[in-house]
């Protein structure tokens, strides 16, 4: 367990729907080192967002465990988990989910109200975030008065205000056009460098995933390592899927 910022082992998440059971996450395991940028890709409905929610402590698995900073978050009570999330984790959603009655600045500062992590460098950090995200002139506007790109920038600032050690991003560029998507990604990577955090991103965009240190692929609830520092593990997507289905195991990691 040492040296990994995040480690998930055999995580299972199932949903009951009338008489059937849907296994969204089927015995998924992954390891993320401190400071790594990990991308999870897959087709729509493959279960990647569900996996991300479980890893971020927003959902509870039926089986398996998730360790972050050596702590088993799946064994925590809801209150303990809430405090842990506020202190160490940041989350960016696809639909940004800004609080509609609060201004951009108030939305950014929400996490500080929940978990007070302000110190003497806080104001400096806030200014840097606002400058980097280029939202300085929209701080007193409500979310309904911002464009989609601006709303996503506000959501990113909100996720980073408490300087989380792990940032989870669920398709952060999914609702943006190409130009805005590239800008947001650049910002995320820049801020990652600036703050030195671990970034776990769900995306269906291969061009974004290619920039990651590690790529996992999700298919029908199963997780496969697609790329790490040593390179890619498949010549084509289909061959890898076929092999994985036949063996029912991903290649083990060192």
């Amino acid at each position: 367990m040492a040296n990994y910022m995040l480690e998930a082992n055999d995580v299972i998440r199932q949903f009951k729907q009338y008489d059937s059971v849907i296994t969204a996450v089927d015995r998924c395991s992954l390891k993320v080192e401190d400071g790594e940028f990990v991308a999870i890709i897959g087709a729509s409905g493959s279960g990647k967002s569900t996996l991300l929610h479980v890893l971020a402590g927003l959902d509870r698995p039926q089986g398996g465990s998730v360790y972050i900073r050596g702590q088993n978050i799946t064994a925590m009570s809801p209150d303990e988990l809430g405090v842990f999330r506020g202190n160490y984790l940041g989350i960016v959603f696809q639909k940004h989910n800004l609080i509609p009655q609060l201004t951009a600045l108030e939305n950014i500062l929400i996490p500080t109200v929940m978990c007070d992590k302000k110190d003497h460098t806080f104001q400096e950090h806030l200014k840097k975030l606002i400058l980097a995200l280029k939202i300085g002139n929209r701080l007193s506007h409500l979310p309904s008065e911002l464009s989609g790109g601006q709303q996503q920038r506000v959501a990113i600032a909100r996720a980073l205000i408490n300087r989380p050690q792990v940032l989870f991003a669920d398709e952060p560029t999914g609702n943006l056009d190409r130009k805005n998507a590239d800008e947001v990604l650049e910002l995320l990577l820049e801020l990652k460098k600036m703050i030195g955090q671990t970034l776990i991103m769900v995306t269906h965009d291969m061009s974004i995933a290619d920039k990651a240190d590690k790529i996992y692929m999700m298919d029908n609830g199963k997780l496969f390592l697609y790329k790490d520092k040593q390179g890619y593990y498949k010549t084509s997507y289909e061959l890898e899927m076929k092999a994985a289905l036949e063996s029912e195991r991903a290649k083990p990691l060192e």
Partner: protein, 791 residues
């Protein structure tokens, strides 16, 4: 889509989404029940009133003290008319005590529905001939004659009540429907994107309201008719099922539902689809701030949730305004109901006797019996008259006595069973003797009276009235509050007693011991002409045209709670009265209040006794006000039940609005609370956020409701005293805040405000949110094995 398809589709929609429509069903049930209750009661009241009157009175017209010739003349006309329009139901022949004379009473019933027409025909064709045959008869109309007028008034009241229910119903349905339309405007936007227009949307919405109205129809009719039956039977009255009321209530309810739906759908259809689609959350309810709040030092939920409530103030103000309004309507209804009951309980005079006549007795007897007359205390002793009547002939010898009310007559009347109080009156209008009352600026309230050149207020509408112990006892009988010492006024001619004002309103700011002035003499400066005008206008003219001299009087007592009409009585003892007006103290009319619980036989006996008493005083006229019968009819209308029923329905609207609105409002705030949770808040903090909202809404509602209740009480008191009940109509209302209706309204409003915030929290927590289950992960216990998944 055909009508049948629309209705069928509406029925399906309601069945599958019944939770959405429960509030509407409840409200439409209540509205329909209310309509039905008012209409059924109206129909039954009219029938019961007619039956009651026909039981009590077999006549429309009563002719009293007819001569024999008059009596048989009318009877002959009745029997021989080819097209009779009246019949003589009965006649009585009574010997006048102490004489050989006989008086005749005749009771006439008109045969046509239009009794006014028949009465006019009777007067035009017979009155002249009857008058030629004798002068001293009196004509009285019975309450049965006034039934048609009463029917008109009942119909008007029923119409007003239904109109009130209609307007309130439309407002309630409008509020509920607009809450629902606001919540589902995203769906409306999608429908409109794909071709739905006003006509289609309205047809669908109206079909749903129609189906709901029909669903509420049978239960409402059952409840109405059973409760009306129980209420009428409880009062010993018959109940009649009225089919017209049943269907009229359904039609009115459908109209109530149609109007607000029309308005709401019209508003929605005017907006662009994009506007509706983009308003998925509560954005349209938010008031945009000018600058961000400094939330760095805020706590969660504490200050942060309070900030959210202020940002949602548009929503909060609308919700509180509409819910508190209905609580206030409840309060107002209960207030009016209590006031109505007060008017029913007030003792009104049953008989009014005018001593306008003069008794003719022997002149010789007058001289011989001087010594006996000296023994009497009034202007003529009853006992002397009895004595004289036994001995004289009634035609040849005559002496005139003036008879007015005196102590002996008082004792005589009080000896009759059933008489509870006798109100005597001796007064002179200030305007008749060119007098008025003058108060200083500080002694008068803002409006009323006429200001003279010195800034003093002058009142022409004073009625100088004699006060003695007997009049003062009547104040006690009615329970008027007296400030000061009434005996001082009775015994000292420099003291007066004055009421609080006139027109049932406070006009004076007087204290016991204050000095007031009464104009005693006037010198004309120039002629004053007026044809008509109110007292203040005429006072103004008189102040310009005359120079007045004044006498000082001290306020010895102030009388509160006494009903006062346009003229206010200024009480003084007999000496002061004579000195001021130049008139002797003569009581020429009295009002008699009868015990309301006496039997019909006792009542008839009392009436007979009074008639015999009148026999001794020719032209002592007894007016029967029929207050007892009219009071019974009024009570039997059960209007107090209508007030109560309407009040309860109106109060129930407040919690329905609270819960319906808040449940949908918080449904849209769930993502927000999910976000708070994702940032690290606990379940306890989320619960506290909802509780803070509830406390804020409940507190603001309580303050608004309390302030408005005070204001409404004041407005209703002024309204009742000056508009609704004619000034001087026996009842004076004074300002008060009825405790029980106020507390009930306050508790319901605050409880609904608080609980309507708490309930969404409970549904939020239970909405299958796995994190909120609070269970720690227990290893493999929760895993469904591969075999069980079926994969």
């Amino acid at each position: 889509m055909s009508l049948f398809k629309n209705l069928s589709s509406a029925k399906k929609n309601i069945t599958y989404n019944y939770k959405r429509y429960i509030c509407f069903l409840v409200i439409l049930f209540l509205i329909q029940t209310l309509f039905a209750f008012v209409l059924v009661l109206y129909a039954n009241n009219n029938a019961n009133e007619l039956n009651y009157l026909e039981d009590e009175y077999d006549y429309h017209l009563q002719l009293q003290n007819l001569t024999r010739d008059q009596f048989y003349y009318i009877l002959d006309k009745s029997n021989n008319d080819m097209n009779p329009y009246f019949e003589v139901t009965r006649g009585t022949e009574t010997q006048i005590s102490g004489t050989s004379n006989v008086r005749y009473d005749m009771y006439i019933k008109f045969l046509d529905r239009d009794v006014d027409f028949d009465y006019n025909v009777f007067n035009s064709s017979l009155e002249k001939d009857i008058a030629e045959l004798g002068e001293n008869y009196q004509v009285f109309l019975s309450p049965l004659y006034d039934y048609e007028d009463d029917l008109f008034i009942n119909t008007f009241i029923c119409f007003l009540t239904c109109l009130f229910i209609f307007v309130c119903g439309c407002i309630i349905i409008y509020l509920l429907d607009s809450i629902m339309v606001n919540h589902y405007k995203f769906q409306y936007g999608i429908y409109m994107t794909f071709g739905a227009n006003f006509k289609k949307l309205f047809k669908t919405a109206f079909a749903e309201m129609f189906v709901l109205s029909v669903m509420a129809f049978i239960p409402s009719q059952i409840v109405t008719n059973i409760s009306t039956y129980a209420m009428l039977k409880g009062h010993g009255q018959p109940y009649t099922f009225n089919l017209l009321s049943v269907f009229l209530s359904l039609i009115l309810c459908i109209c109530v539902a149609a109007v607000p739906v029309f308005i709401n759908i019209k508003n929605v259809s005017r907006k662009t689809p994009l506007y509706l689609i983009s308003a998925l959350d509560n954005t349209n309810l938010i008031s945009s701030p000018r600058a961000s709040a400094d939330i760095l030092d805020y706590t969660f939920p504490g200050k942060l949730e309070a900030l959210s409530v202020t940002r949602f103030r548009k929503y909060g103000i609308k919700l509180i305004a509409s819910t508190v309004s209905f609580s206030l309507l409840f309060f107002g209804c209960m207030y009016l109901g209590a006031s109505y009951l007060k008017t029913l309980d007030y003792r009104k005079p049953e008989f009014t006797i005018n001593f306008t006549g003069r008794k003719v007795v022997s002149e010789e007897k007058d001289k011989e019996d001087d010594s006996k007359e000296d023994d009497t205390s009034g202007d003529g002793s009853i006992y002397d008259i009895f004595e004289n009547d036994k001995q004289k002939d009634d035609k040849d010898k005559s002496t005139v006595y003036d008879f007015t009310y005196n102590d002996e007559i008082k004792d005589y009347l009080y000896s009759f069973e059933g008489i509870e109080a006798i109100i005597k009156n001796c007064s002179t209008y200030a305007i008749d003797i060119n007098s008025h009352v003058k108060l200083s600026k500080n002694q008068a309230r803002l409006f009323g009276g006429e200001t003279n050149e010195n800034g003093e207020r002058c009142y022409l509408n004073a009625l100088y009235t004699v006060l003695d112990r007997e009049v003062a006892d009547i104040f006690d009988y009615f329970g008027y509050k007296i400030e000061g010492d009434i005996d001082k006024v009775i015994n000292d001619s420099s003291y007066v007693a004055i009421p609080y004002g006139y027109n049932n309103a406070d006009k004076f700011k007087l204290s016991v011991g204050d000095t007031i002035y009464i104009a005693t003499d006037s010198k004309m400066l120039h002629s004053v002409y007026y044809v008509s005008g109110d007292y203040d206008y005429i006072m103004g003219l008189m102040l310009e045209g005359y120079e007045f001299s004044y006498a000082e009087y001290t306020v010895g007592a102030i009388i509160r709670d006494m009903p006062v009409g346009v003229e206010f009585p200024l009480y003084m003892n007999g000496e002061a009265y004579t000195r001021l007006t130049g008139n002797e103290v003569i009581y020429d009319s009295i009002d008699i209040i009868v015990n309301p619980d006496i039997s019909n036989d006792t009542y008839d006996a009392l009436l007979s006794d009074l008639r015999h008493a009148a026999d001794y005083y020719s032209n002592m006229v007894i007016h029967n006000n029929n207050s007892k019968v009219l009071g019974e009819i009024e009570k039997n209308k059960n209007y107090s039940s209508v007030y109560l029923f309407v009040a309860i329905v109106l109060l129930s609207v407040s919690p329905v609005l609270w819960f319906f609105s808040q449940i949908l409002f918080y449904l849209k705030r769930r993502p927000e609370f999910d976000m708070y949770f994702s940032f690290g808040s606990s379940k306890r903090q989320i619960r506290k956020a909802y509780i803070i909202d509830g406390i804020i809404y409940a507190s603001v509602s309580a303050v608004v409701y309390t302030l408005m209740a005070f204001l409404l009480s004041w407005l209703l008191t002024a309204f009742l005293n000056s508009v609704f009940y004619a000034p001087g109509e026996y009842v004076r209302f004074y300002y008060s805040l009825p405790a029980i209706p106020y507390i009930i309204g306050l508790l319901v409003t605050c409880a609904a405000a608080f609980l309507s915030s708490l309930l969404p929290y409970l549904t939020y927590i239970n909405a299958c949110h796995p994190i909120f289950t609070g269970k720690k992960f227990e290893g493999k216990k929760d895993i469904i094995s591969e075999g069980e998944t079926g994969l």
